[in-house]
């Protein structure tokens, strides 16, 4: 990140500056604190996790004996790979819904609102100040059998008895996660829309493109990097979530983090838990690499849209 910003400033003298900087010892000193920080709080835990994933467990105690057993188990027992696939599916749904919700809203705030744009933007961001837990519990109040939604539907006469499906089901999990990650996706899309120069839109219209054509040929492609960044955010964070299924999920809503939690916190099987953690990490890194490339490929403007 810092690196990137520095480069942007020195854009003109980039080729020579880069070569010099690589061997400038003073800059290496600057790098020491972040390297120490990352080593202790990021790489070291992952390294421990990685090593742990090759031990085995006998009667609740970790035995330091090398084995591939945990990895074989992950890929042969549907409890583990099946839950993982289901998690990917839920993450995909949450991502799709977050985009569908936040894109129109971001578009509206950015292009249609003339006055108080900042106010609208802030209104969307405010939910982020409320704790995740509070929001999850709020959904219980809304979706429960004696909850607001059921009571409204009963009063209107759409249903004749309270619906159970709203709460403690996969739908509730997807709904809550969508609610939680939509502001993030929105922020990212909004930023990329904001950076689209207005003259480009005018040019498109001057050249005879209609409203829809302008959107699909100009606005959407130019906002793709922001869209991809936001989608990545929602997808990756959903993959790691375990509270929503715990609080709002039904009998079959376990996600991969719940399995990891159970292995660490209940079954005392750290090695297998670590294995799943490592595999999840690799998948997430893969997704990040992929979307990173996609983002760059879709960046058409040198200015602006690169950032988040």
């Amino acid at each position: 990140m810092q690196d990137e910003a520095a480069l942007a400033i020195n854009k003109n003298e980039r080729p020579t500056a880069r070569r010099q900087r690589a061997w400038n010892p003073r800059l290496l000193i600057l790098l020491i604190p972040p390297i120490i920080w990352l080593s202790i709080f990021l790489f070291a835990p992952y390294a421990v996790l990685f090593i742990n994933s090759f031990w085995k467990v006998d009667f609740g105690s970790i035995v330091h004996e090398f084995t591939w057993g945990n990895y074989t188990k992950f890929f042969t027992n549907s409890l583990y790979y099946g839950t993982f696939l289901k998690t990917l599916k839920i993450a995909a749904w949450v991502t799709v819904f977050s985009i569908l919700l936040s894109y129109p809203l971001a578009y509206f705030i950015n292009f249609k609102i003339k006055k108080n744009k900042q106010l609208f933007y802030t209104l969307v961001i405010i939910p982020l100040w409320v704790s995740y837990l509070v929001r999850a519990y709020a959904w219980k109040i809304v979706l429960g059998q004696d909850g607001i939604l059921n009571n409204v539907l009963l009063a209107v006469g759409l249903i004749d008895h309270p619906m159970e499906i709203f709460l403690y089901s996969q739908y509730a999990v997807v709904l809550a996660l969508t609610h939680i990650y939509t502001p993030w996706v929105l922020m990212s899309i909004y930023t990329s829309l904001e950076h689209i120069p207005r003259d480009v839109l005018e040019a498109s219209k001057d050249l005879g493109a209609g409203r829809f054509r302008t959107f699909f040929r100009v606005v959407l492609p130019l906002s793709l990097p922001g869209l991809i960044a936001g989608a990545t955010f929602a997808f990756v964070l959903t993959m790691g979530d375990f509270l929503a299924p715990q609080l709002l999920g039904g009998t079959s809503s376990m996600m991969v983090s719940n399995v990891v939690y159970s292995l660490f916190g209940v079954a005392n099987n750290w090695p297998l838990g670590s294995t799943i953690g490592i595999l999840t990490l690799f998948v997430v890194l893969g997704i990040l690499q992929l979307t990173h490339r996609l983002e760059h490929r879709t960046t058409s403007f040198e200015a602006g849209t690169r950032g988040r």
Binding site: D3, L7, L31, I35, L38, S39, I40, F43, A44, Y46, A47, V48, F50, I51, N52, V57, F59, G60, S61, I62, H64, N77, S78, L79, G82, T83, G144, Q145, D146, E164, L167, Y168, Q246, G250, T251, S252, M254, V259, S262, F264, G265, V266, A267, N268, N269, W270, H292, R293, H296
Partner: protein, 378 residues
């Protein structure tokens, strides 16, 4: 151009990662050794004032009704952390939480395991004079004794009974099969715990001759139990993870049937509801909770003082008030109304206990846990 640049960024990261890996492979191995054997010292002076006693207990075992008196009398502060299942307790103690807690309240399924693992310390009964007044049936259990030393002081016991909302279900269900009754689809809650497997074992009649059979089921029996639990899934509203969650499920009328502890009717009926417990014909399981002192605790004497305090007959009455559980000190009945003594079964303890299959140690706990997770993931 850009991808080349980003590749360069990875180099220092890679170097750091490798360094960290080397450094940590050294200490990584060490960190798992159990936090045992550091005990026996500490807490030697009796001046307790200003100290903090940390409990790691089931819900309800740190109720202000009886904790407050201890805090005031000895000028100490009691903090409590709750665990939602026996496995969670073991995981917390083994996962490095050993020296954070002083007193724990394991149930009969893991108490012996904690003892064998060296996670708990022997209790000096000279500091627990109330031990003499506790029910001998509970004291006679050998699983928490070793080399003539006592590691656990009986505290409470109770059933995992069938709890039903008597406003909805007028006649007490006589069989666990009521959980599979389509009439109550989506109205049932069971615990998010391996004890469900014991329950199915009972329904299969495994403990007819030997109670320990449900704790040592064969793979075939486990598969059958898994099938049965999966069949139950459409009936289930939610697997409850804590007593508090089950209380909420009943309070909000989400469920009408559940397997649970007396804590739930005690708590929920206080707000005018009518929950009842019953023992179905297949039998029920139950638990006996002992108070134990963590081996790494630095407040062992204070812990003993606490254990003596809460097993006092008057305090035990307050424990019964708060939890609705059977208490280990039968003299507590002297301070109760006849109804309360009957409700917690201490008026007829020997007979009642015969109807309950009390939890025992499960040898292959990992497999039980895995089966239960497979049920949930299905």
């Amino acid at each position: 151009m850009k991808s080349r640049r980003s590749r360069n960024k990875f180099l220092p990261a890679l170097v750091a990662a490798i360094t960290a890996l080397i450094v940590l492979s050294a200490c990584g191995g060490k960190s798992e050794t159990p936090p045992a054997a550091s005990g026996s010292g500490g807490g030697s002076n009796a001046g307790t004032s200003g100290k903090t006693l940390n409990l790691l207990t089931w819900e309800g075992y740190a109720d202000p009704k009886f904790i407050k008196g201890f805090e005031d009398k000895f000028g100490v502060k009691v903090t409590a952390t709750y665990f939602g299942s026996s496995d969670e307790l073991v995981a917390k103690l083994k996962g490095g939480g050993g020296d954070t807690f002083d007193v724990i309240s394991p149930s009969s399924d893991v108490a012996a395991y904690l003892l064998h693992e060296g996670l708990v310390a022997p209790i000096n009964l000279d500091h627990v004079p109330n031990y003499a007044n506790l029910a001998s049936k509970l004291k006679d259990m050998k699983d928490v004794q070793q080399d003539g030393k006592v590691y656990g002081v009986p505290f409470t016991w109770g059933p995992d009974s069938l709890i039903y909302d008597a406003d909805v279900i007028k006649t007490p269900p006589d069989s666990w099969n009521v959980f599979w009754d389509p009439q109550y689809k989506g109205k049932v809650s069971i615990w998010d715990d391996i004890s469900n497997i014991y329950l199915i074992g009972q329904m299969m009649g495994l403990d007819a001759t030997d109670q320990s059979k449900v704790y040592n089921m064969t793979e075939d029996q486990l598969q059958e139990a898994k099938k049965k639990l999966i069949e139950l899934k459409p009936q289930i509203r939610k697997y409850w993870a804590s007593g508090g969650e089950l209380n909420d499920l009943f309070s909000n009328k989400e469920v009408v049937l559940a397997v649970g502890w007396p804590l739930t009717p005690t708590t929920v009926n206080a707000s005018g509801r009518n929950l009842q417990e019953t023992i179905p014909k297949e039998g029920i399981t139950g638990w006996i909770d002992r108070l134990m002192i963590v081996n790494a605790s630095k407040n062992k004497e204070l812990a003993e003082t606490y254990i003596n305090y809460v097993t006092d007959e008057q305090v035990m009455k307050l424990v019964a008030d708060a939890t609705g559980y059977g208490v280990a000190n039968l003299n507590a009945a002297k301070h109760m109304s006849a109804e309360q003594a009957k409700a917690i079964h201490i008026d007829d303890m020997e007979n009642y206990m015969k109807k309950v299959n009390f939890w025992q140690e499960v040898k292959d706990r990992n497999r039980y846990n895995e089966i239960w997770n497979e049920v949930k993931a299905q």
